[in-house]
């Protein structure tokens, strides 16, 4: 299911929801990096492009709790198709709270729960008004044997996750907590990494992200990172400062 010989097609799921916390910047940056790409916007109620075609990347960004519930309902008919595309290696970038929709369920503080897509094996617990804030430095291995990519990000959320992700995870964290805060520690030894599936790891913060890797969008070498020098400097500065002992976000 590769699109390597054609201009990339990036499907943005529910862009009208996914604009929280600057996550709209993800698409802006991808557009700047991939000027030839076609961006397909799928609004709530529309049939997704991925239903019968193969996009180069599926992007869904952070949204409110109510919108999470609506998105889970809207994507439920396409659950198997999403799983099929994931298994086939189509990159999926779900940032911020969007990733929580992929789990089995989301529970509310009042005890009610919302059914997730059940593609990944974890449960999300909303704990409003408790706010969890953290900075993250982790590594992402695109494929077995490939060079790890350093990823920096923020965690700002009401939720903690429960589940087993030892065999399937996005990042190994060096700094910051993973699925939940039970083992929260600023500097986790490399040999005991926390693992988690989702961060607020916007591509605009990730000049080394696979989502921006030209090899995954066809026409090798044709695409360049937008504002590459500045993006790399910002990434390196964040990676340095996030590792400082005690570094944190404050309310």
């Amino acid at each position: 299911m590769s699109c390597s010989d054609t201009a990339p097609v990036i499907e943005v799921l529910y862009p009208e929801f996914g604009n929280q916390a600057g996550d709209n910047g993800n698409e802006m940056y991808l557009r700047a990096c991939l000027p030839d790409a076609t961006f397909v916007h799928t609004s709530y109620g529309d049939t997704p492009y991925l239903a019968d075609k193969v996009p180069s990347l599926v992007l869904m960004c952070g949204m409110t709790e109510l919108q999470q519930d609506i998105a889970a309902r809207g994507l439920a008919p396409y659950r198997d198709r999403l799983a099929e595309l994931i298994d086939a290696g189509v990159p999926m970038l779900f940032t911020g709270s969007a990733a929580e929709v992929l789990g089995t369920s989301i529970t509310n503080p009042d005890g009610t729960s919302v059914e997730g897509l059940g593609i990944l094996d974890f449960v999300t617990h909303r704990n409003m008004p408790k706010r969890y804030l953290d900075v993250v430095v982790g590594t992402f291995v695109p494929a077995p044997g490939e060079k790890p990519i350093e990823v920096v990000g923020f965690k700002i959320q009401f939720t903690l996750m429960e589940g087993r992700n030892e065999s399937s995870f996005f990042l190994s964290d060096e700094v910051g907590f993973g699925l939940n805060d039970r083992k929260q520690a600023r500097r986790v030894p490399q040999e005991q990494p926390h693992r988690h599936m989702a961060h607020r790891a916007a591509p605009s913060l990730q000049p080394r992200s696979r989502a921006l890797d030209p090899r995954h969008h066809g026409r090798d070498g044709r695409y360049r990172l937008a504002f590459e020098g500045e993006a790399r400097r910002a990434h390196d500065e964040r990676a340095r400062t996030f590792r400082l002992p005690g570094m944190h976000l404050d309310i």
Partner: protein, 471 residues
């Protein structure tokens, strides 16, 4: 003056300690907005329930415009002889409300002034409203606010809506399809709305809109018009949700005469009143209109309001200042920090001003960078419409700095800088002729901090001079 619960010995101790704190702050020339409340809460955690409440309590809340609207409403009331206490110099969270009431109280806790008009932070509804139920609550609007603290409008809406009691008179903005749905348990509501204006847009404005989908069902919204961001008239194509009918309608605006007309549909015959405004922006109109409606609900007559607005009552200079230096207009616009919407509205105001412009961005929140183990979440920058400054009339952009703060170099997004270079053919020219206008600064949260620093610096210099220049 009424008491909500019985006073305890801890309450009296808290009153004495907080009064002592006010005295100490005064002696050391500090304002200490929230300190008395912090002290009182330490001793009596339920202090707000124990202190007497003024006879009439009014809260003004909402993401944008609450400070300006509170000040306007207070000024209107004071100008018409109302004795009131306000938290203009204090904080808008629970300890700020407590501090304001402490300053207005005797040691026994009895309130001196009959009216309290206070700005209330949206998330602080949770600790405040169960203890101090207002008679009137004005909500200006709901937008995305500081993400680290306030998350999203849905979350804030849920908190506010939950804690509003059925007895409070609610004054809501009918043009805001988010906040107008507040508190379904309350049936004591009045709505205000601005009718279609010539400069309206057919769709919501901005790189990020807080209302791109129905807030109830997620369905597609069809807009008739938008005055400011998502404020306007819309309906959901799926569930039919639409704006409520307003009882106060701004039916027309005369920009040349600096007047707006309000039709009161609560009253038989729908009488109209005309009021004066100073500087025209839609945000200013909303603030002025909201304050006018609240003042009417509190008993001021249209004539009293009109007389005050014709006289000295206007938008306070803290948020908007304008002066002329030679042939240049210098306009200073403050906007809330870490808030893409407020910043965008300021940029939009600037681009709509006539003439060529130089824009100075002064980022007061750069003080956050001074904390060595604290990092700022920069996501809001992607929600701010820096692209508005690509207007060809904007000839120059400079980064400014406020006293004691490092300039925030990284705060001018690269996406903007690059495009501006393309548009102007050069990067940030230092000198450009024929600039008529200059404006904009960001973030007002640390205005007091700056004033304190300036005062501290002046004191330090004075002490040094007393010691013959020795540090």
């Amino acid at each position: 003056m009424t008491t909500t619960t019985q006073k305890t010995p801890r309450f009296y101790l808290a009153m004495l300690a907080s009064k002592a704190a006010i005295g100490a702050l005064s002696l050391t020339h500090h304002r200490g907005g929230q300190v008395p409340g912090v002290v009182a809460e330490k001793i009596d955690p339920d202090f707000l329930s124990h202190i007497d409440r003024p006879e009439h309590v009014v809260f003004v809340s909402g993401t944008n415009g609450k400070t300006t609207t509170t000040n306007l409403l207070s000024d209107l009331l004071v100008d018409n002889g109302y004795g009131l206490v306000t938290n203009r110099a204090g904080g808008n969270i629970c300890t700020g409300i407590e501090s304001t009431l402490i300053k207005n109280a005797s040691v026994s806790g009895a309130q001196r002034e009959r009216y309290a008009v206070m700005e209330l932070d949206e998330v602080s509804f949770r600790p405040v409203l169960p203890r101090l139920d207002p008679d009137l609550l004005l909500v200006t609007n709901l937008y995305t606010d500081t993400f680290t603290r306030s998350a999203d409008p849905d979350y804030v809406f849920g908190i506010m809506s939950h804690y509003i009691s059925a007895g409070t008179r609610l004054v809501l903005n009918a043009d805001d399809l988010i906040s107008c749905r507040m508190a379904p348990q309350n049936h004591n509501k009045v709505f205000f709305s601005i009718a279609e204006l010539p400069d309206d847009t057919p769709d919501p404005q901005g790189i990020v809109c807080d209302l791109t989908a129905c807030p109830k069902c997620g369905g597609r919204l069809e807009y008739d018009y938008c005055h400011l961001r998502h404020l306007g008239r819309a309906r959901c194509t799926a569930c039919g949700l639409t704006n409520p009918e307003a009882q106060y309608v701004m039916t027309s605006v005369d920009r040349e005469a600096h007047t707006f007309t309000v039709e009161e549909r609560l009253i038989e015959g729908h009488p109209c009143s005309t009021y004066h405004f100073g500087t025209y922006t839609v945000a200013n109109l909303y603030n002025l209109f909201a304050a006018t409606v609240a003042a009417r609900e509190m008993g001021l007559s249209p004539e009293q309001i009109a007389r005050s607005l014709d006289g000295k009552v206007n938008i306070t200079a803290e948020r908007y200042m304008e002066r002329r230096v030679g042939r240049h207009r210098i306009v200073n616009i403050a906007s809330k920090g870490e808030n893409g919407t407020a910043t965008s509205v300021a940029f939009d105001t600037i681009r709509k001003e006539p003439g060529t412009k130089a824009v100075v961005l002064m980022l007061s929140d750069a003080h956050m960078a001074e904390k060595s183990t604290e990092v700022e979440f920069t996501g809001w920058l992607y929600q701010a419409d820096y692209e508005y400054l690509l207007d060809p009339q904007v000839r120059q952009i400079r980064r400014g700095r406020r006293d004691g703060h490092r300039p925030g170099a990284s705060h001018v997004p690269r996406r903007y800088r690059s495009r501006h270079r393309d548009a102007c053919g050069q990067a940030f020219p230092r000198r450009l002729p024929q600039v008529d206008y200059a404006g904009c600064r960001h973030h007002v949260h640390c205005v007091l901090r700056v004033q304190r620093r300036r005062r501290a610096r002046r004191c330090r210099h004075a002490r040094q001079e007393d010691r013959g220049g020795q540090p």
